[in-house]
């Protein structure tokens, strides 16, 4: 394992990266001083530190970095006014401020580039910023401690709907300080728009509407964040054109506006503000294909398509949703999602190497079993996060049971790992002398179960969030009791078992017995992290929560708080992930990017879903049902004239690449021939059933790699990539395993059965595109057959072309 000191540094590199955006906006942040009224009494913390932050001086790329810059070091984002005050007034021989002749102060001469400054000219001489700092020096360069401590930050208006492009409004930022006073600090803030095609913002907080759409504006004042939303509606003439058009083409779904479904309600509310129409509902075959890929990672068979098209029941879509949510493969899909979330990595599992793949399967089966049994999400999370191997079991009995289980696993026999109450395997990794590495565990748990990336706070206060190093370490300490290996009592019991086995055997020799390991708790406090500032003992705390010590298993206290409906992160993280599974993009994007500076694209929708999810006792299927039976989910991917620009308000479906496993399974479905997983999953299995992150079969491993199945190696970056790549296109065009399946699978059977050209063409279209061919497509196929004198070869061409068309490999 990596040296902890390195890890600390590594995390820093990553985090400092995130500071970039701030620097960029700060660079262009030169406010004109037209409207500026002089401040009577300039305050160091409120004004000077605010300016240093806004001008970019205290960012990680400049004086805010660990080493400072040019001998001048500021706390990152002005987090430590006392230290900064010292740096400015005392360090460097006090040359930075000149009380007698303020204009000679180095801080002003540097900032205005009157003397050479590596960071260039940040302010103009005598600009309002210059005058603020100058006044502060002229007034004695004093600091009133803690006067600038922020209690609350508000941005107003919190939402603004423009009338048309080109309009502008001024955002105002007001801060309530700890001493109760309020002040407009707009001038001292950094503003950033999340989508520059929708709006632009200048350094004074003036937002100018550009193209139609909605986007967030994030403001930061010395590390405190707030955000507002601006909406630029589609222009009226565009709307008129649409109205004119929709008379002849029914290219929208007006019923969405009347739907009671909470997804539809919130999406419709947004679309109304945007003055756009949702696309028309997807056709039945599109819907069937989409829901099959999304819910069970498969294509519908030609028979499924025919039956669904023929079904005249008005409720057939919701009936199909129900059918697929209870399909066994839906549980498989979830097991795979949970394996990603819990970062199942056979190379890190601390088990005998020959058992690693078998353990990976039981890890996966543990989740599969729970989804199939309808276990609520909070209980699943608890079963992972609070796992020990023994629970309350008697140690002697547990040792016997576990020995039997592991033996069965080694012999590839049925075992009851999946029904064990807890997934102790989750903790069997990254340990040193039995103590697990709590920092990676904490980062993984924060990312997976809270949607929060805390790695930055390992080294410094999170640049785009509120977490400090102390928060990070206190959070990691929740897991400091966890040990792996064998506790003393289990070791004694295991020794006893070996004695009994030896005694029982005929020749007095010990029959082959696996050495069992367990996850247990220890209060020796050896792996707990100390307070980063004082080096004192640091109590375990949830992020932003109270001291959790006192419970036998501190993780239990953590889980009590975690699953409490009052905790905003738990349900929101999960519903956001589920949303991302079904819409291709999270409401918060990326899904582990919940932070004070990354607002959701539709916060009301996220809140409504999260609230419903916790009210429904974290029932996963109910949540999925709400989403999948919405009219929003059913919309066509074909945009109409009013909603063409939309990327994050869900007025039409967004075509996307299915997950890597689904791509393979879709190929197997279409060609009618399963892949071989070389013992990673039983014969006839589907790719979604492969548990390991290191498949034995090189072809499968390559396919997974090519289509972006995650390695499950890093904790922080959302690894699964559904991006398209030319390697994928080439893979589909040339992979021998696919070319072979084209020739020998479904097509061979079809032609051998004596199907007519017409029938065979229909069948291939149904098997790949899940629809019948259009006249033009059928014509193209017929021509191809006529042109070639080899009928079979012509059909191979047709099938190949179908599998390589975008309509096949996309979920749309």
């Amino acid at each position: 394992m990596m040296n902890p000191r390195f890890r600390l540094t590594f995390a820093l590199f990553y985090c400092s990266v995130a500071c970039l955006a701030t620097v960029v906006s700060a660079r262009s942040a030169r406010a004109s001083d037209g409207e500026f009224t002089e401040i009577d009494r300039v305050d160091f913390e409120r004004h000077v530190a605010g300016l240093l932050n806004r001008l970019g001086c205290s960012t990680g790329a400049c004086h805010g970095s660990f080493q400072g810059r040019g001998g001048f070091k500021l706390a990152l984002f002005g987090q430590d006014p006392e230290r900064d005050y010292h740096a400015i007034t005392r360090d460097s021989g006090g040359r930075r401020v000149d009380l007698v002749d303020p204009d000679r102060s180095l801080i002003l001469r540097k900032a205005a580039a009157i003397v050479p400054h590596e960071g260039g000219r940040r302010i103009e001489k005598n600009s309002w910023e210059y005058r603020v700092i100058r006044s502060w020096i002229a007034q004695g360069a004093r600091r009133r401690p803690e006067v600038g401590t922020v209690k609350k930050i508000d941005i107003s208006p919190s939402e603004h709907v423009f009338e048309r492009s080109g309009e502008s409004i001024r955002l105002r930022v007001a801060v309530e300080f700890e001493d109760g006073s309020r002040e407009d600090v707009s001038r001292f803030c950094v503003f950033q728009v999340k989508n520059e095609s929708v709006a632009e913002i200048d350094a004074t907080g003036r937002v100018v509407a550009k193209d139609a759409g909605s986007c967030a504006v994030v403001v930061s004042y010395r590390g405190a964040f707030a955000w507002a939303r601006v909406i630029v509606p589609a222009t009226d003439d565009r709307r008129d054109r649409r109205v004119a058009r929709s008379k002849s083409f029914l290219n929208s779904d007006p019923l969405l506006f009347e739907s009671e479904n909470i997804v539809d309600r919130e999406v419709a509310a947004r679309l109304r503000k945007l003055r756009i129409e949702p696309s028309a509902p997807a056709s039945d075959s599109e819907f069937l294909r989409r829901i099959s890929i999304d819910a069970i990672g498969s294509l519908p068979s030609p028979e499924d398509v025919r039956a669904f098209l023929a079904d005249e029941s008005p409720n057939k879509r919701s009936a199909k949703v129900d059918e697929l949510l209870y399909h066994p493969m839906h549980a498989d899909l979830w097991a795979s999602r949970f394996c990603d979330m819990t970062a199942l990595d056979v190379e890190k599992l601390e088990v005998r190497p020959y058992l690693a793949q078998a353990y990976a399967r039981v890890w996966r089966d543990w989740f599969r079993h729970r989804i199939a049994a309808g276990t609520p999400y909070d209980q699943i999370a608890r079963g992972v996060l609070c796992a020990t191997s023994r629970g309350e079991d008697d140690v002697k009995k547990w040792v016997e049971d576990e020995t039997k289980r592991v033996s069965a696993l080694g012999r590839n026999e049925p075992n009851d790992f999946a029904t064990k109450p807890e997934l102790d395997l989750f903790w069997m990794r990254n340990s040193t002398n039995g103590a697990i590495a709590i920092e990676p565990a904490a980062e993984l748990i924060a990312s997976s179960f809270l949607g929060v990336r805390i790695a930055c706070a390992q080294c410094h206060r999170h640049p785009f969030d509120r977490w400090t190093r102390r928060d990070y370490r206190a959070f990691a300490n929740i897991f400091a009791q966890v040990r792996t290996g064998r506790s003393i009592e289990a070791d004694i019991a295991f020794g006893g078992l070996l004695e009994r086995l030896r005694a029982r055997s005929a020749d007095g020799a010990l029959p082959p017995t696996p050495a069992i390991r367990e996850v247990f708790l220890s209060d020796d406090g050896e792996s707990a992290l100390a307070d980063p500032d004082t080096d004192a003992r640091l109590a375990p705390r949830a992020l932003g929560g109270p001291d959790l010590s006192g419970r036998r298993d501190i993780r239990q206290a953590f889980c009590d708080r975690l699953v409490d409906p009052a905790n905003p992160f738990f349900a929101r993280n999960f519903v956001n992930r589920v949303w991302a599974y079904y819409f291709g993009v999270g409401l918060v994007d990326p899904v582990d990017g919940f932070s004070a500076s990354n607002p959701p694209s539709n916060e009301r929708l996220l809140d409504a879903l999260a609230k419903k999810f916790s009210n429904d006792h974290y029932d996963i299927l109910k949540l999925e049902r709400t989403i999948l039976t919405s009219r929003t989910y059913s919309l066509s991917s074909i945009p109409n004239d009013s909603n063409r620009f939309d990327r994050n308000d869900f007025s039409h479906a967004l075509p996307r690449r299915p997950a890597a496993e689904a791509v393979l399974d879709m190929i197997a479905d279409a060609t009618g021939k399963a892949f071989d997983f070389d013992g990673d999953a039983p014969a006839g299995s589907r790719a979604i059933e492969v548990a390991t992150n290191r498949p034995k079969n090189e072809g499968i491993a390559r396919a997974f790699r090519t289509f972006g199945r995650p390695d499950r190696k890093t904790t922080c970056e959302c690894e699964r990539s559904n991006a398209a790549a030319i390697a994928q296109t080439l893979y589909l065009m040339t992979e021998p395993a696919i070319l072979d399946r084209i020739k020998t699978g479904r097509l061979a059977k079809l032609l051998d059965s004596g199907a007519s050209d017409d029938q065979a063409i229909d069948e291939l279209f149904l098997a790949t595109f899940s629809r019948f061919p259009s006249t033009d497509e059928k014509q193209a196929a017929v021509e191809a057959i006529e042109r070639k004198n080899d009928r079979r070869a012509a059909f191979v061409d047709i099938f190949w072309a179908l599998l390589n068309a975008r309509e096949f490999s996309m979920n749309h």
Binding site: P440, E443, R656, A724, E735
Partner: protein, 415 residues
């Protein structure tokens, strides 16, 4: 805004020129020869003939084409042609484990739990972009699955195309880059025609980013298959016996020849793996009988060949492993892992020829002059391509990431 999609190479060059971080002339492609296991560079490119035998080792030294610079006696051809090369003797870091060390050198970033950085080749190929008919990033003899050619935060789309098989037996195979034997070019034409007809059905797809992207990929993929450039490049059967002889009858020699042909065919970055350098035992035996003669021949032939074809200015060759080896010879006549000092051999790509950068102490235990880190080396290499090492690129998840936060371009390495 910071997306790679909008990365404009010309603009970045302009920016680079203003900031004077990159040479005026920039290179367009690179060949990385990866000495897996950690080459004993003290026995190769930074010999210490005056050190005690326990450090000096078994070999004597010979003069090279750079006055005053000596190389190991078993590198005669490199010594003769060293004036074409650039030698860095002061690369240093502190990771002595194979995998993590490899990641550090290959990505130019310390390995992190929080983020997986892409290999320099993945990043470069992504930013510089492909030429028609051939993938931009290729690896021959991928020794460690995905360790030195990882796509990291760029996403699998930026990964290397792996070329498998033995170059020595002229049996290289390009998975996915050429048509299988029973798939003719005329069949490809028929199928492409059908594909175009069937691809119109999904209306609206062209308007989406991913849909239009895929359409572009289809076109490029068919170009690659039709041009058959990759397969022709890795087919060495028409090379003259003289050329084959010059590169040497070894996997590395033939691999280097294939790499040159791939670069000529338009590839941007070719990585060539060469294992066997983890010489804990019988270091001198392995170096003398196999490793050094192989590399001596292959590297010098590659540089001269590129030079005679007028490609050396535009193509960077560089050769290194994950770390160097201990100055003190161990009891098994081997050397163990040592990352405080290691040498790197480079040629072409606008690097200063006949220049030795940095130096180590008389025991080769630490750099004494111009110490540089893997981060610096990586920043320098991308700078040679006209890429600003500090300009953010977009991760697959859309986050802006500065590729070499800690790397400083080593200006002295350029003319």
């Amino acid at each position: 805004m910071l997306g790679l999609g909008s990365f404009d190479r010309a603009k970045s060059k302009g920016f680079a020129a203003i900031e004077s971080v990159a040479p005026a002339q920039s290179c367009g492609s690179a060949i990385l020869i990866w000495l897996s296991g950690g080459p004993s560079t003290i026995d190769m490119w930074d010999p210490k003939p005056h050190a005690p035998e326990s450090i000096r080792g078994d070999f004597t030294t010979i003069a090279s084409a750079i006055p005053g610079v000596r190389l190991c006696e078993h590198l005669p051809q490199l010594a003769r042609t060293l004036d074409r090369f650039t030698l860095i003797r002061s690369l240093t870091h502190e990771i002595t484990a194979h995998d993590v060390g490899s990641v550090y050198i290959a990505t130019g970033n310390r390995p992190s739990q929080a983020i997986e950085h892409p290999a320099i080749g993945a990043l470069t190929a992504r930013i510089v972009g492909p030429r028609s008919g051939i993938p931009p990033y290729i690896i021959i003899n991928q020794l460690k699955d995905g360790v030195i050619d990882r796509a990291g935060y760029l996403g699998s789309a930026a990964g290397a195309f792996a070329i498998e098989g033995s170059p020595l037996r002229n049996a290289l195979r390009a998975q996915g880059n050429s048509l299988p034997t029973d798939f003719s070019l005329s069949a490809l034409g028929d199928r492409e025609r059908l594909l175009k007809r069937f691809d119109r059905g999904l209306k609206g797809l062209d308007e989406t980013d991913i849909g239009s992207g895929l359409s572009d990929f289809q076109r490029r993929a068919i170009d690659i298959l039709r041009s058959d450039r990759v397969r022709r490049a890795i087919d060495l059967s028409n090379e003259s016996p003289t050329t084959l002889e010059r590169y040497g009858s070894t996997e590395l020699g033939r691999g280097a020849l294939a790499a040159r042909r791939l670069i000529e065919a338009g590839a941007r970055f070719v990585t060539l793996g060469f294992g066997g350098w983890d010489t804990h035992t019988a270091n001198f035996e392995a170096l003398r009988t196999n490793l050094l003669p192989t590399i001596d021949r292959a590297l010098s032939a590659l540089a001269l060949d590129l030079e005679s074809r007028g490609l050396l200015d535009d193509t960077l060759i560089y050769c290194l492993g994950e770390f160097g080896r201990t100055p003190i010879v161990n009891a098994s006549a081997g050397r163990d892992h040592w990352s405080r000092t290691m040498s790197v051999l480079l040629a072409g790509g606008g690097f200063r020829r006949g220049y030795v950068h940095g130096a180590t102490d008389d025991r080769c235990s630490a750099p004494t002059r111009d110490a540089c880190s893997p981060d610096d080396l990586a920043a320098t290499i991308v700078s040679a391509f006209g890429i600003d090492p500090h300009a953010a690129v977009a991760s697959a998840a859309g986050r802006p990431i500065v590729p070499f936060r800690d790397g400083k371009t080593i200006d002295k390495l350029f003319d």
